[in-house]
Amino acid sequence: MKEDVVYLLAQGAIVLFGSAAAFHPSVRRFPWPARLAAALAAGSVLLALEATLYSTLHVAWSVGALAAPLLLVSGLLAFAWSRREIEAELEPPRPLFRSIALVLSSLGFLYLLASLALSASTSVDYLLFWGVKAVRFAEARGIDAAFLRSGYSYHAVPDYPPLVPILQAWGALASGKMPWRLNPILSAVWAIAAAAILVPLLRRKLGPPAWVVLAFWSVAVSFSLAYSYSGGNAEAPLLFFETVAVACLLTESEVNPSRLLAGVALCGAVLTKVEGTAAAVALIAGTLLRDGARRRSGAFAGALKLAIGPALGLAAWFSYQKSAGLSVGYRPHGELLRLYPIHSGSIARNMLYYLNSGTLWLSWAVPILFLIWFARRWRLVLPALALVLGLIGFLAFDYLHDKDDPAVRIGWTLPRASQSALSALVLAAGLAAFTKREESEVS
């Protein structure tokens, strides 16, 4: 019990590690829950980068050695950023449906929490390798190269990026024990943190209707996470990072937008899962296309700026792999262009079937209907559409590499791996439906 409390406190300290983000001028005007969520994003990314760097340089992890530099750097940045002037933002009016939307969102999250707490949504991958890596890393006081190199760790996908095991190992290092039953419950925190950050971002663009989009997003994502066994694995953090990135880019101002938070979130996405890299590429390409279509000056430079975060994340992980004598990069499912189109029919059928998200496809159908209704505004939401199509296309391409019918693998992976696409689709539909007509005409 005591270890569980220390583990929780250690996880809470991750917010302190990224507290600078809460004081950045682009975030400071947000309400406190959103600022804490931004700090969680930055803290997770900084801790993962620092811990990976330590292991590359053969510096042993300890609570003090990991925490002190992050607290110092974050504190100094927070001080510097908090002195910058920002425009005060008026508290927007509270529409009638805000309360209803909040109740629906809360009920969705309560369902998710119950499902995780009662162990009905735990990922088996958490027991097979996510949690195992965390335990081994904490025990080895660093990323355990010997474990990753072992021929008997093949199932632990040693090439997967390290953010999730590092965050869990950090807690285990501080508490001296891995709380196997508690950890899956914490997956809900990522979804709730994403919702917290969506509020000011959507409100900036949509005004009062932001709440109803938030309600649909929260309920759809909660049922999807519970249905797809996402407790304890990397799905919830990946969903968080990709949702923050896509929401930042969809709602950014037209003039000189700050892309700090989006860049941090994309760095987090590539450090969380391989699909995070595919999503980052799609999202950056979509943003470039949108800005190009708007004839915005500096569109290419803006896209390059956005790519710094994910490039840094990949560089950190691949540098570690090289320094530890591991294969550098990600293990492909066969040769790149050796495909088995004979399974196309099965892939299409099964992908369609397994996109039901625990709501009999309603979570997908409703935003698709809204997007068709407001199809003329597609350019506005190009980054999100690029993420949806890019991610689903990436997964289909991956399944086409299977020599045997990948039906079973689709059933195992698609409900989890498609969640970021679902999130982006809901946000795209919300923005297309509620963006003011004048603004969409300008765009």
Binding site: A114, S115, L118, S119, L127, G151, F216
Partner: protein
Amino acid sequence: MVRRRRHLPGFDRRLAAAWIAASALLFLPGIWSSRLPPPRAFRVPQTPVDLTWDRYARFWLFLKEARHHVPPGETYTVIAADREDEMYLYMFSLGLFEKQTALPSSYFGTPTADGARARYLLVYQSAPRTTGDRLVAKLENGAVYERTEMRP
């Protein structure tokens, strides 16, 4: 020139109501396809996978019980009558036996020679084993043995 507004103020309201209704509607199929038991049957789970996979929950309980009988720094292997059970037990054990060294008797169904070098045997249910090993503990779902004769 004053531009005529195509969207009346009420349009956004109706649209918002449609989104709210759709959000509420999600609960019907969501709860219908839920894996949660009725509230009366709620209980604190014993393993991380009690309501997820019963079979894995049994593996977890066996390993949790067995780990106290393998001293830190020692080697162990898992033996099960079913090769797939054996594989999962080995993989799960890596997270629970962090201070011991696992030597699998098989990996993805293929027997390995390394398991024979392990000092402790975690025997799941009634898996066959060589006679002469010392019984360390009898567990609910198997037993822990110590090899009296170690192979080099």
